[in-house]
Amino acid sequence: MIVSFSDVVVVYDNFPALAGASFEVSSGEIVLLQGPNGAGKTTLLRACAGLLPIARGSANVLSCDLTSDRHSVRRKVGLLSHANGLFQDLTVEENMSFWSRLIGASNQDVKTAMHIMGLSDRLSTTRVANLSAGQKRRCALATLIVRRAQLWLLDEPHAGLDTQGRDELDKTLRAAREAGATVMFASHEIDRAQNLATRSLTVVGGLVTES
């Protein structure tokens, strides 16, 4: 199992965002998380990345026990959250090279990722602050591609992207899967998402059910 949650409770400021979530994800799956706003999808993804303390239950991601150690899992996952994690005053290229230097990725990987996301040429020397929302999202996705994570966690990756960007994203995720990665993503673009996913889970009221 890549991810295995059992009765997991995650608390934000006395609010149980996850209220006993149980599910499993096995290797090579592309899992869609669907559910209304505030259902706990974002919390679920962040918890998988080892960013949130597990208040109750047991959580195991990539053979790391999150209840005792939330740190060793982080190197193995890639997280795309609502925020893009970019520095507004730096150009696309500078952002890319910062994040790739931190994880020791090669220049070739950076170039490839930028090419995939259509960020070469003029855009690469544009400051992130001057990009459109969709272009920022592409840049954030490019930093994620460079990571070569074993588990991809994406929070509404389709939001803000144009059709072409969405196609590229879907292609990228399928390629990652073929290379042996596992993907979990939340989306409200149900048709496109279901087309991409191999399985879908519904998150409501901090609980996870098969759908």
Partner: protein, 249 residues
């Protein structure tokens, strides 16, 4: 017995009752003896009476911060990270901050009478003031949002940093005052000739304040546990309420 106790105070036990009664008794004695029975000092005059509350509160304040540091270190070192250490550190710091405030106020009242000034830039005073501000900051860090474990980790680390900071503050102030011998005021502390009753009253003060400290920390720490438990039970209800959201759909 415990039923009666519960009605008066849910955090009380027979031990705390005994400590509390003893504390009341000793404190009453300190007040009576300090204000009425003891004679005035040859050098300090009547102002020596302030010493019977000032010296014990200073002692307790420093003791409290040592306890906070030791409890925080124990929390960090212990494998289980027992929350008891964290609550103890927090309770001790709260009581310590209160006694530090008392120390600073009574000290400046005493200084006004003895030196003619409310404040002297003397190393001990200055360090005490910085210690006070540092632990007010520590309490502010404890109130930052987050889980019980986050609170414990953050505040334990901040307490350890305070342990690094205080000697540096003290040393820098000592060095500062020794190099700049500006307005040195006769420090009458060493000149006090205390008779037996005065010494006994001071000693009783230390005992009485220590009893008060123990009583307060025990109760405060149990109160913290009660609050944590109540929050946890609130969480149970919140989880149940959260789960019903999925049924509505």
């Amino acid at each position: 017995m415990s039923q009666v106790l519960q009605r008066t105070s849910p955090t009380g036990t027979r031990t705390t009752k005994v400590i509390g009664a003893l504390a009341l008794l000793v404190m009453a004695w300190v007040v009576v003896s300090g204000l009425i029975l003891t004679p005035q000092d040859v050098v300090q005059g009547e102002s020596v009476r302030i010493m019977y509350v000032h010296v014990p509160s200073a002692w307790i304040a420093y003791l409290a911060f040592i306890f906070t540091a030791v409890a925080s270190a124990s929390w960090l070192i212990s494998k289980k990270h027992s929350m008891g250490f964290d609550r103890f550190a927090g309770a001790s710091a709260e009581v310590g901050v209160m006694f530090m405030a008392i120390t600073l106020i009574t000290g400046s009242l005493w200084g006004r009478l003895t030196w003619g000034e409310f404040w002297q830039w003397d190393p001990r005073l200055t360090t005490t003031a910085f210690l006070f501000v540092t632990y007010v900051g520590y309490l502010a860090v404890r109130r930052l949002e987050g889980s019980v474990e986050q609170r414990a980790r953050r505040s334990a680390v901040v307490a350890m940093l305070a342990v690094l900071e205080i000697p540096l503050v003290h040393f820098s102030v000592v060095l500062w005052r020794s190099l700049h011998q500006g307005a040195t005021v006769l420090n009458p502390n060493g000149d006090v000739k205390m008779d037996d009753l005065m010494l006994f009253t001071l000693f009783s003060g230390v005992v009485g304040f220590t009893l008060v400290f123990v009583w307060l920390v025990l109760h405060r720490q149990r109160t913290m546990l009660l609050v944590d438990i109540a929050n946890r039970q609130g969480l149970d209800a919140a989880i149940a309420a959260r789960q019903t959201e999925s049924l509505v759909k």
